[in-house]
C-alpha cells in the first residue's frame, strides 16, 4: 500500500491506462476507509452481541458443540480459534469480553493497526469455533475484516487521526479533502472483487424453477425457521404478482451489482447506484427473513464504495459539513479530555504528548517500511489469487466446467481465514421444503418435553405433526437444525445435551428416560396458496438405542 498525493502521482487526469486502472481499482479515499471502519466495527459488535445468548450453547462443553467434538471431527481440516481453549462457560465469557474490547477499540480507531489485526483474530476465533453453524454472512464479514486488515482504516474519523493531526499541529476538518491523500493498495481491488463475485455467483446460480417462475420470495417466506414477524404478516398479502416483482427485482439487482461495482467508467454514478441497490436488497431481505449477520455484513461493504466525489458532494452540503465539523471538533475535544484525565501532568498536558514521538528519518527504517509495505501488498495479492482459485472450487457454475487442482497450502490459506467462496444462497432454487428438528423426550415422571425446541425457538413443545408458523430460530439454531440430522458424528453431543436437561432446569423430576429426535418437514404452499402440505417426520436419533 502506498500513499499518493497529486504531486507524487503526476497528473490527476491520468493519461495512461495504467494510471486509470490504478485510480479505478486500487485507490480509495481515506474517509471511505474511516467510515468503513466504523461500519465494520459496528457489525462486528452486532455479530458478537447476537452470539451472547448462545454462549454456553455453542462455545462451551455444556452445549451442543463441545470443543473436543469439533476437534475430533472438524468440519474442516484447517481451523484456528482461540475459543478451542474454552471448555467452560465462564472461560468463553472472558473470551467474549476480550473480543468486545477489541471491536470497541477498532470502532473508535485507537491503535487501529493493532486492533485491526486483533479484530481479525477475534473474528476468526469466534467463527471457526462454530463452523458447523456458520453461513454466508459469517464468511462475508470475515472476508471484509481480512481485506481491510491490509488497509489503513485509522487515517480518518479515529482517535489515531486526531492524535496524528495534533502531532502535525494541523487539525483536520471533516470536510478537508486534502488532509490525507488517497490510499493505493491491492486490497482495494480485492475488496471490490470480493463484493462483486459474491453477487455475481449468487445471481448466476439462481436458475431454478422458483426463480424462473418468480415464486422464490413466496417460498422463502414459508421458511418458518427464519421468517420474521413481518414476513409472516406478508404471507397472505404476497400475491403472485408481488412475489414475481420481488423475486425478479432482487435477481436483477444482484445481477447488476457486479458491473456497477467494477465499472471503471462513471464510477461516481455506478458506485452510488450500487450502494442504493445493496441497501434496498439487504434491508428488504432482513425485513422478511433472519439470515444472521449476512445483511449487515453486506451493508458494511457499502462505505468502501464511496468515491472522493461523494465526499466532496457531502461536504458541499453546508448543513452536513457543519455537522461533520461539529462532530469532529467534539470528538477531538473528547480525546483531549480523556487523554488529560488519564495522563495528566505538566509534561503531558498537551495532546501531542499522547502521540508517539515523530521518529527521525533513518534510511534503514524507511527501507524497512518500504519492504513491509511491499510484503503487505504481496500478501494481499497472494490472498486475492487464492480467492480467485477458490471461486473455481466453491461455485458449481465453474467447478462443474473447470476442474482446478488446489495445492494443500492454498486450501489451508482458504480454510484458516474462512476465505470460502461458495455463493449459492437460495440457489439454484429457494427452498420449497421447510424443516425443523424436534425432540420428544419422556421424563422420569412421564411427561413429554422438548428440550431442543424449548431452547431453540418460541414454541416449547411444537410436536412432530406440523411446523408452527415462525419458529423464531436464530441463524445458529436453524443452521444446526438443517445440518445435525445428516451429521451423525455430532449426535453424541446432542444426546448428552438432551440428557443434561434436568441439570439446566434444576429439577430432578425432569430426568429423561427416553427421547426421539426427529426431523420434521413439510412442502411449502405453491404460489397463490398459504397452507403447507405433506408434513412428515423422521426419527434420526433415539435414546436409549434399540
Amino acid at each position: 500500500m502506498t500513499d499518493s498525493t497529486p504531486s507524487s502521482t503526476g497528473s490527476t487526469t491520468g493519461s495512461t491506462l495504467r494510471q486509470a486502472l490504478v485510480r479505478a481499482y486500487l485507490t480509495i479515499d481515506p474517509r471511505s476507509l474511516g467510515l468503513g471502519r466504523i461500519a465494520l466495527a459496528l457489525v462486528l459488535l452486532l455479530d458478537l452481541a447476537r452470539r451472547i445468548p448462545g454462549l454456553a450453547l455453542w462455545y462451551s462443553n455444556d452445549g451442543l458443540l463441545p470443543n473436543h467434538m469439533m476437534l475430533w471431527r472438524p468440519p474442516t481440516q484447517w481451523m484456528f480459534s482461540l475459543f478451542f481453549l474454552a471448555s467452560w462457560t465462564d472461560e468463553a465469557a472472558l473470551g467474549f469480553v476480550v473480543c468486545g474490547f477489541v471491536y470497541l477499540a477498532l470502532l473508535i480507531g485507537w491503535r487501529t493497526r493493532l486492533f485491526q489485526v486483533l479484530a481479525l483474530i477475534a473474528l476468526w476465533s469466534l467463527h471457526s469455533r462454530v463452523t458447523f453453524v456458520e453461513n454466508g454472512g459469517d464468511w462475508m464479514l470475515g472476508e471484509l475484516t481480512l481485506w481491510t486488515a491490509f488497509l489503513p482504516l485509522g487515517r480518518r474519523f479515529s482517535v489515531d487521526a486526531v492524535l496524528a493531526a495534533r502531532r502535525r499541529a494541523a487539525p483536520p476538518a471533516a470536510s478537508d479533502a486534502d488532509a490525507d491523500g488517497p490510499v493505493i493498495s491491492v486490497a482495494v481491488l480485492a475488496l471490490l472483487v470480493q463484493l462483486a463475485v459474491s453477487y455475481l455467483f449468487n445471481a448466476l446460480h439462481k436458475g431454478g424453477p422458483t426463480w424462473r417462475e418468480g415464486s422464490a420470495v413466496h417460498m422463502v417466506l414459508h421458511q418458518d425457521r427464519m421468517v420474521t414477524a413481518f414476513g409472516v404478516w406478508m404471507r397472505p398479502h404476497m400475491t403472485p404478482l408481488l412475489s414475481r416483482a420481488l423475486s425478479y427485482g432482487s435477481l436483477v439487482m444482484e445481477g447488476l451489482l457486479p458491473p456497477l461495482i467494477l465499472s471503471p467508467w462513471r464510477q461516481r454514478f455506478t458506485r452510488r447506484l450500487a450502494i442504493a441497490f445493496m441497501l434496498a436488497l439487504h434491508i428488504g431481505l432482513q425485513m422478511f427473513i433472519n439470515v444472521g449477520v449476512f445483511s449487515w455484513a453486506m451493508i458494511a461493504y457499502a462505505p468502501f464504495l464511496l468515491t472522493p466525489a461523494d465526499w466532496q458532494a457531502l461536504s458541499a452540503r453546508r448543513r452536513l459539513a457543519k455537522l461533520g465539523g461539529r462532530l469532529s471538533a467534539r470528538a477531538q475535544a473528547l480525546v483531549v479530555r480523556i487523554g488529560r484525565a488519564c495522563r495528566p501532568s505538566s509534561a503531558l498536558s498537551t495532546l501531542s504528548a499522547l502521540a508517539p514521538p515523530a521518529a527521525p528519518k533513518i534510511p534503514a527504517v524507511q527501507q524497512l517500511r518500504r519492504l513491509l509495505t511491499l510484503a503487505r501488498e504481496g500478501a494481499a495479492a497472494l490472498m486475492l489469487v487464492v480467492l480467485l482459485t477458490e471461486l473455481f472450487i466453491g461455485n458449481p457454475l465453474l467447478s462443474t466446467k473447470v476442474r482446478l487442482w488446489q495445492p494443500g497450502w492454498v486450501k489451508a490459506l482458504v480454510a484458516y481465514p474462512r476465505l470460502i467462496q461458495a455463493w449459492t444462497m437460495f440457489a439454484p432454487d429457494a427452498p420449497t421444503v421447510d424443516e425443523t428438528v424436534v425432540v420428544d423426550a419422556v421424563t422420569a415422571d412421564g411427561r413429554h418435553v422438548d428440550p431442543y425446541s424449548d431452547r431453540a425457538g418460541r414454541y416449547a413443545n411444537p410436536g412432530s405433526d406440523r411446523i408452527p408458523a415462525r419458529l423464531d430460530n436464530d441463524s445458529f439454531f436453524f443452521n444446526y437444525s438443517a445440518r445435525i440430522p445428516f451429521n451423525s458424528q455430532y449426535w453424541g453431543a446432542l444426546q448428552e445435551w438432551i440428557l443434561a436437561y434436568p441439570n439446566r432446569t434444576g429439577r430432578a423430576e425432569d430426568r429423561i428416560v427416553h427421547f426421539d429426535a426427529s426431523i420434521v418437514e413439510d412442502d411449502s404452499p405453491p404460489l397463490g396458496q398459504t397452507q403447507p402440505s405433506k408434513v412428515r417426520a423422521r426419527v434420526f436419533l433415539s435414546w436409549p438405542r434399540h
Binding site: 470443543n67 476437534l71 484456528f80 471448555s87 504528548a353 533513518i362 534510511p363 534503514a364
Partner: protein, 648 residues
Amino acid sequence: MRLPARGWISADPRSLGLGRIALGLALLLDLLRRAPELTLFYTNVGLLPNHTVLWQPTVRRLLSMFFMVSLPHEAVLAFVISAFCFLALTVGFRTRLFHALSLLATLSLHNRVIFIEGPGSTALGALCLWTLFLPLGRRFSVDAVARSLRKHPDLTAADLDAARFPPADTTPVASLAVAGLLLQLVAMLGLGFANRQGATWSDGTALHYGLHQDRIVTWLGVWAREHWPQSLLRAGSAVVLWLPLVIAVLVVMALLPAVRVGARRLAMVLLVALVIVQTSLVNLGSWGVALLAYVPFLMTARDWEWLSARARRRAVTRVVFYDGDCGICFQSARILRRLDRLGRLVVVPNDDTSLFPPGFSIDPALLEKTILVVDPASGRRRIRAQAFAEMFRVLPGAAPLAFFMRLPLVRTVAGRVYDRIAVNRTRISTWLGLAACGIPVRPSSPAEVKPAMAEKTATPTGSPICRGWRWLRGKKSQTRELLAAFVLLALGSDALAANPAVPTALRDLRPDWVATLVGYAGLQQAWTFWAPDPPLGDRMVFVDALTGDGRHVDPFNAAGSRVHELPVTAIPARLGQSALFAAYSARIPERFVYHQAFLEWVMRQQGRPGDQIVSFDAWVIDDDSPPPGETVARGGRPRLFLHHAPPP
C-alpha cells in the same frame, strides 16, 4: 518499593540477571527435549490428541495454547514461537514482555500433556511464575545495554573512558517474590523429603529399587545397580533422601544474617551435586535443569563481590583501536564499553593520537582499514574479525562466543563478513542514521518523560475509572507485591493440601477456587516423586501388532524405546525411553478413556503397504524388582489391556 535488603526478600540484580539466563536456557532445553516427540504428544496424529485431552482432562480446568494445535505443522509453528520467546528471555530482549510470553508458552507446553508430566515441569513453571514479579532484565541483558545507551548518550570518544563511566547497577531488589521463589525451592525439596516415609527409604533400599525402573534408568544406573555393593547403594539412598532436606534447611537458614552467605553457598553446591547424582542415574525429564535454574537466584551480593574480586585479580587488558569517524564503529565501542564491567578494554579512537596509550606505535594506514586489538602485556595484535573474538575472550561471560568465532569455518566466514562491513562502514553508518562522527541522532521527546515524574505532578481530575487507573499505575510495585502475596498464599495452601506428609488438619485449608487457579497453571504442589517409596516393581507396555503381510511388529516401542523386539517375555534392561514416553507407558493401561486414541495411533502406524496393521494386542508387563542383593526381576505378569481386530 524499597524494603530493607535482608534475608528472604532481597535479591541482587546480578543474581536475577544470571537467573534469567539460566531460566531461559532451562526453558529452551525443556523445549528441545520435547521436539523429537512433537508429533507423538502434541498433534492429533499422536497418542494424545487435543480432543481426547479436552474431552477427559486429567485436571478439570486447564490452560494451554497448544489445545488449538491439531496438525504437525501447527505444532511446529507453536514450538518455533515458544523457542523465540525463550530465546528473547535468555538474552533479555524486552524482558518483561517475553517473560510473560515465556510463562504462557511453558505452561501451555506442560498443560497440553499434563497426563504425562513430571515434577520437573511444575518446578520450571513455578520458577517462571515467581520470577515474573522480579526485574530479571536489570543486568546482563539487551534491555540493560539499551537502557544505558539511552540514558548516557556518549557524545565523544572521551565519554567512553572507563573512569567516567557510570557504576553498574547493584541496588538490591526487594520483593515478596524472592521469598516465594525460595519457599518454592524449600517446599519442593522439604516436602519431597517428608513424603518419603516408606520402608525402602528407612532401610536404604530405595535407590536399589529406583534403579530397577528400566523405563527411565540410564546406562550408568544400570551399571551401578549391577556393580555397586549394597552398602554403596544404601549410602546413595541416604544421599538422595537427606540431601534435599539439608538443602532446604540451608536455604531456610539464610534468615540468619550470620550464616546467610555460607548457607547459601553450601546450598548451591549441594543442589548441583544432587542434580548430578539424580540425573546421572535416572532420566527425570526436566527436573534436573529446573533445579539448576534455581541456583543463580541463591547467589548473594557477597558472592558477586567475591567473583568480581577474583576476576579483577586477573590483570587482563586489551587496547582497542577503532575508527573514530565511523558511526557503527563508535556505536560498537559504546556497546563494548557497557559489556566490559571489569574494565578490561581500553577503547581508543584512531583519529586522535593524543589519546593513544603511551608506548604505542601504530601505523595509521592499518587503523583506516581495520579494528585493532592489542595485548599490552605480550604486544600481540589482532585485526578484523579476530579482534572481536579477542575482545569477547576477555569480556566477562563472552568466552564461548570467542571460542565459536575461532572455529575453522566460522573464522573464515566471520573474517569475510567483517571485511564487507569494514569496506562499507560509512555507507552503513549513514544507512542506519548514524552521523559520520558516530553520534546517534535522537531527538528528545515528551514521551520520554518518566511516568513516575508525571504521576507525581498529577492532579486528581478525570472520571473515577481514569482516577482508578492512575492510582493503580502509581502503585505498580505495591500491586505487584500484592499479586506475589496472592500467589504465595495460593501455592502455599495447595502445598498443604496436596502432600500426604502435611498433618490432616492443615490439608483442608485450600479453598476450591485456589485449586482451580493452581489447576489452570498446572502448578499443583504435590511433591511425591518416589514417595512414600519408589515403585517396587517395573512396568512395560508393548504392542503385538499383525501387519498385512503377516509379520508381528511393536510400533509402540519402535516409536519411543531402545528395544522393540517381539516376543516380549520379560522387561528388557534399560528401555531408554524419554521421560514423557516413560510416563505414558506407566499410565496408559489404566487410563481407559485414552485407549481409543491409542488404538487409532497404532492403526495409523504404517510405512510400506505391507506394514499396514490389521490387528493388535496391547500388553502391559508388570514385574517385581529384584530384592536387594539380586539383579534379576521376578514374576513378570503380562496383561492384555487392549485388543483390536477387524470385524469378522
